[in-house]
Amino acid sequence: MNGWCGKLLRINLTEKTGKVENLDENILRNFIGGRGLGAKLLYDEVKPETEPLSAENKLIFTVGPLTATGAPTAGRYSITSKSPLTGTIFDSNSGGHFGLEIKKAGYDAVVIEGTAEKLTYLFVNDENVRFEDASELAGLDTHTTTDKVLAGTDERARVACIGPAGEKLGLIGCIINDRHRAAGRGGLGAVMGSKNLKAIAVLGTGSPAIAQPERFEAAKKLAQEAIAKNPVTKDALPNYGTAVLVNVINEIGALPTKNYQEGIFKDADAISGETIRERIFVRRSACGHCPIACGRVTRAGGEEGEGPEYETVWAFGADCGVNDIEKIAIANYKCNRYGLDTISTGATIACAMELSERGVITEYIRFGNADAVLQLIDKIGSMEGIGEKLAMGSYRFAKEYGAEEYSMSVKGLELPAYDPRGVQGMGLAYATSNRGGCHLRGYMTAPEVLGNPYMVDRLKTEGKAGLTVLLQNISAAVDSLVLCRFSQFGLNPEHYAEMLSAATGIDYSDTDLLLAGERIYNLERVYNVRARVPGDTLPKRLLTEKLKEGHSKGYVVELDTMLRQYYEIRGWDENGVPLKETLKRLGL
């Protein structure tokens, strides 16, 4: 098989077995890899009613047909599971170099099932799987865990692991690979923790076969050139990292501030990408095979680490009212060590701050107090005191006090750093995201704010349903390849289809690729419907409270209008359930 490996490694932790299975070529053709393959495997193997933290849930690591081929940004991997935070099908995607090793080891997917009797780590070296006792790693942070696992396996291996948060089943616990990269969202760290799996080290020695090498090189070159010529990927991201967005989003009045109570953070410049560069920047960093290098190695509080990225800067900065970039960087380092999702952690703390100011909770936590943020991260990471409740995410935390309207989340997943009252299409993308409040399922900020590929009016609803569907479909396809979302700034569906065709030897047109994306999106939706996931909506605040100042002043999200059009375009009923003819058209 070309492009793909055609193999799946199934590891059963209960039985301590690892066996290699062949993957059906039709599944790979139709679901591509990565997110799509993960969704298909989860759909087939994990019943929708499965309790996410039970042995019946599975953790599915996937890569794509372009992984490790040298295609630009093709160093990523994806993890799919049923999320304990949202109850939805959930894939979380991470960079670094871990994904390259899975592919080099000869697999399109590694399915982890069952539960280990005691804390365990795995070493996958091509076809060999070793189960190692991880008792001495219990409670260790992700950096130390990585070091010890490498010492116990092979220094050339790459490690994905959980920290104390995942071990203790905190629902905002994530999986960290390569020390600083996170499969951040959805609490998949808790799923790994529930399986008593502390880490996976992977070392591969192979390389994927390419069907048409000359055609692939030409396609790759065009793609690299397109990325090199796009203003976002050639200048903004390499120079300032993702935090270049802080001032941009603040300028349009859509930087959520103090738990989305406001859209402008007066100290935005103090936490911007420009300030990061001046104050804490050490050097750029890049994931495997990435020409963009948006990563930042920084130094703060005597420690050197990676990040913070835009969403993290926002979560611990504007959302918590904090203007100290060094402390935000430290908060980021802490989360990486504990294995916590920075978006959900920051947003949950911001929710707690608002509840405190409103007198809903008795703890004294005020917006703007950076030290309080750092202390709360320690409590969440170690599940101590109020941290035990906060580690369950903002929705469960606020609901415990009867105040769930102050959780700025969708389907239980904390919203990221774009106030949809000032970016209307983003509101629709949040509401209809199959994994909850996520900006990456359909990054409408690209056209609505950055003008990529074209500028559209961010405050209007007209046309947004169709554009959201388009971006969700192409994003599902790109997540399945598995390439970085940022590649989309420079590449169009034709670029992706050409690289995929040349690598696999199977001709995909751009519309084939979009159709595959649509198929994946619908499969995820059907799983959620069967799992009885709540409907598509937004926090009440975003639908009823107008922004009070700035260039988005006076707006709420006009969701109803967009949602009706969206369902119609999708071929779903008025409750967001795919119609039979839609599923039939997509071969589902």
Partner: protein
């Protein structure tokens, strides 16, 4: 000149264009002062690969471009800017720069008109007016003569001009024998805007070319330009229409996005692409002109006026 572009106006244009045709309308441009030779070389390679109409460089870079093109046997035309970017050089200097660029192998010349003189023309009277007009005819005419039959495009720098001055600049350029009129240098206060392009086409006529330059960074920007000045089969041709841009590759790469959905097109408030919405960098007296035009806008609906009031920055 006010202009409203409906979504149906725009939606009809992309089906007429392939990526290859789009590329053939683009002058692939690199005019920054800090550009390196290797960039000029890659500009040539890219023009060959994508099929751009030409590469557009400063006159001092023409020779190394043509030598590289010859050495690599590329099928690429070289366009040289002249009197760039201010247009305030002596006429003889512009003519001499043109002569040298042509000797070095330039096939096309983009010359900057003496913008200040063009502005003076609009307020001058009698004999003085006639003298300035003759000066401007010479300013363009000497370049045309030195170009020795090569294509000459005249950059008006529309962001510094009123509608009346743009129209007069077009008339002078045509009368002096230029082949194209062109909006901007990319270093001025305003890029290519549909209202100006429409005016330029109406004044220069169908037998001359119009080149849109400055701020055209993706295919949708280009479609707006096409609507304004080249929206029929005869004009949608590199002889009558060009785009000058350093974002040529990005434009070609964004062509396909329009085919997946027509939701990119909406009936936008016309202020979004109106010159009066881009006045922040203009000299005061020009700014006043455009602000006055905005206040007397003839085409906004009451709902759009309300929207504009609500969001002074669109």
């Amino acid at each position: 000149m006010y202009l409203r572009i409906s979504k149906s106006d725009l939606a009809g244009i992309p089906p007429k264009l392939t990526k290859e045709k789009v590329a053939g309308l683009i002058d692939h441009t690199e005019l920054k002062p800090h550009v390196l030779t290797k960039k000029i070389h890659s500009l040539c390679d890219e023009a060959e690969r994508y099929g751009f109409a030409s590469i557009c460089v400063n006159s001092g870079r023409v020779k190394e471009a043509t030598e590289y093109i010859r050495a690599k046997d590329l099928d690429v035309l070289v366009c040289s800017v002249v009197g760039f970017p201010l247009g305030q050089m002596k006429i003889e200097a512009k003519a001499y720069e043109t002569k040298l660029a042509v000797e070095d192998g330039a096939e096309e010349i983009d010359t900057v008109i003496n913008v200040g003189k063009l502005r003076e023309l609009s307020t001058a009277k009698g004999q003085e007016k006639e003298t300035i007009r003759r000066f401007l005819l010479n300013d363009v005419g000497e370049v045309v003569k030195a170009a020795d039959g090569k294509i000459v495009k005249v950059i008006l720098e529309t962001g510094f001009l009123t509608d009346e001055e743009i129209a007069e600049g077009c008339r002078i350029s045509v009368e002096a024998g230029a082949h194209f009129v062109k909006t901007s240098t990319g270093f001025g206060p305003m890029g290519a805007l549909p209202a100006h392009l429409k005016l330029m086409r109406e004044t220069a006529g169908r037998k001359k070319g119009v080149k849109a330059s400055g701020g055209v960074t993706n295919f949708l920007d280009m479609v707006r330009c096409i609507y304004a000045c080249a929206n029929d089969e005869e004009l949608l041709n590199p002889v009558y229409f060009r785009i000058g841009t350093s974002s040529g590759i990005n434009i070609v790469n964004t062509v396909s996005w329009l085919k997946y959905t027509d939701n990119w097109f909406i009936d936008e408030i016309p202020c979004r692409y109106c010159p009066s919405n881009f006045v922040s960098k203009l000299p005061e007296e020009i700014k006043d002109y455009y602000v006055a035009k905005c206040r007397n806008c003839q085409i906004l609906t009451p709902a759009e006026i309300e929207e504009r009031r609500k969001h002074h920055k669109l």
